[in-house]
Amino acid sequence: MRSAFIDELCTLAEEHPHIALMVGDLGYSVIEPFADRFPDRFFNSGVAEQNMAGMAAGMASEGYHVFTYSIANFPTFRCAEQIRNDIAYHQLPVTTVSVGGGLAYGALGYSHHAVQDYALLRCMPNMLIAAPGDPAEVRACLRYLVDNPQPSYLRLGKTGEPTFRSPDVALAPGAWLPLDPAEQDDGVRRAILTTGATLELAVKAKRESDAYAGHALFSLPLWGMESKPAQAAQCAEFDEIITVEDHLQDGGFSSWLLEALMAQGAAIPKIRSISLSPEVCGQVGSQAFLNRSGGLTFETQGA
């Protein structure tokens, strides 16, 4: 996802002279293509995320669309108030980009595990979350954000994610994006709804287990407070929904969906949340190991 991000950002920056990239002294072997091609629009704030976010807001107030870039929690929690007050409240076009969403930096430990970021960002009015499921969705999210500049949070995986979508996939906030239809029909309408890099896990589960043959698969790469009203109608199409996220359940994606239904007084289908248990916090291992031990698996919970 990292390379798709920087490649698409370079393409967009050619057409849009107001796109700028500001890194918090991270991005070695990722951000160089942008820095080399657009040196006037590339900034390294140093290891100083509060200033990075505040400066990005200031630049955005003067016509730039600034992408701040760092890993895991550094561009979000470390400067949460700058995002809340300076960026979101002032409705400025700054996209906070975090690479290593979820447990992608598995062995690096809790400091590098981004498993509470949705909770932080989704409670801010005006904030759009972009959590693409594959490299094509990364590019589509970027195109959407550049066409619709606003406070936003782009949560990337890391590297090596497979591509499921076609290159011209188009997105809209709050709109579930179908990938696979249900292959069996026993009269119960079932869906799997993923956000972020967990799309790969859902695709794998559907391929490997008959238990999910009756589920239609969707991803939701663009969502936030403002897209809650669009959820009830989409949920009403299903009797059972499995939500999938590499995030703690607390304040996460499944909670968001339930809040959206409650806010409208809508009927709530049977919802199962595949998400991370707090017990994963502090554990070390590969992303796959941690996802499994944190309960983010289709296997152990059965169907």
Partner: protein, 283 residues
């Protein structure tokens, strides 16, 4: 540098900085009294800085406060909002009717500066936000070859915030000589003196070591302030920091140098006394 459209500045205001300062103080007192609001001492502390900025320094157009060629002025110590709004009203950006809504139900004039109010660039209130934002503006102005300048007004207590020191480092590193920061150094913060809370001294040496062009002034002396802003404009290659020595509550004897007036709002009798002092001082 790109030549920007001329913007009317000096001479448009039919008011001296001294008269403007007096009006700001009187309006501030009336506003905090009516709203039973805090922070009157902070407002009095920055009044002369505001007056010199708006009477003699900033390029702005009152009827078009978002004019693209304006100088950008960011109030980082958002709690001094009453004085800022009072200033904006007396230079024609806001009206006296606007001031009457200060701190009232449903008003845009909340008691920390609000960007939804005409003439306000950034909502603040949480400290340590204005300078990073101003650095971003100055950086944008440099990259775009703009002629306008960025001014940021900070409190001394807010220099406790690490974000300010991050921004100080970056601004010097990026050689932002289109940026002027002013510290309102009244030496009192929320509970006690700045030195007994979290010592700032030797502040001039620290700021100079951060490679800023540091100018120390009496923050109530309009000539010194004017000279400092002029020197800041002449300075090349470094951002300028004006360390303005001030008195919290300046102009009202019983408010001066008193932490209590960070919180208290004058009652009717105190308001009458304060108004008499301000009018007397300027008679």
């Amino acid at each position: 540098m790109t030549k920007v459209e001329e913007i009317e500045t000096l001479g448009t205001l039919n008011l001296s900085s001294v008269d403007l300062a007096r009006k700001i103080r009187l309006d501030t007192l009336a506003m905090v009294h009516a709203a039973k609001a805090s922070h009157v001492g902070s407002g009095m502390s920055i009044t002369d800085i505001l007056a010199v900025l708006y009477a003699n320094t900033l390029r702005y157009r009152p009827e078009d406060p978002k004019h693209p060629a304006r100088d950008r002025f960011i109030v980082s110590k958002g709690h001094a909002a009453a004085a800022v709004y009072a200033c904006l009203a007396n230079v024609g950006v806001l009206s006296q009717d606007d001031l009457a809504t200060f701190g009232q139900q449903g008003s845009r004039l909340m008691t920390h500066v609000n960007h939804k109010v005409r003439g306000v660039e950034l909502s603040t209130g949480s400290l340590g936000h204005g300078l990073p934002f101003g650095v971003g503006k100055a950086l944008a102005g440099k990259r775009q070859g703009k002629d306008w300048r960025v001014y940021v007004l900070l409190s001394d207590g807010e220099m406790d915030e690490g974000s300010n020191w991050e921004a100080l480092m970056f601004a010097a590193h990026a050689r932002l000589d289109n940026l002027v920061a002013v510290i309102d150094y009244n030496k009192l913060q929320s509970l006690a003196s700045t030195e007994s809370t979290l010592g700032l001294e030797p502040l001039v040496d620290k700021l100079a070591a951060f490679n800023w062009n540091v100018i120390e002034v009496d923050g109530h002396d309009h000539d010194e302030l004017r000279r400092a802003f002029y020197q800041a404009n002449e300075n090349k290659g470094r951002p300028t920091l004006i360390l303005a020595h001030t008195v919290k509550g300046k102009g009202v004897s019983f408010m001066e140098n008193s932490v209590a007036w960070h919180y208290k709002s004058p009652n009717d009798a105190e308001l009458a006394l304060a108004v008499r002092e301000i009018e007397g001082n300027h008679a």
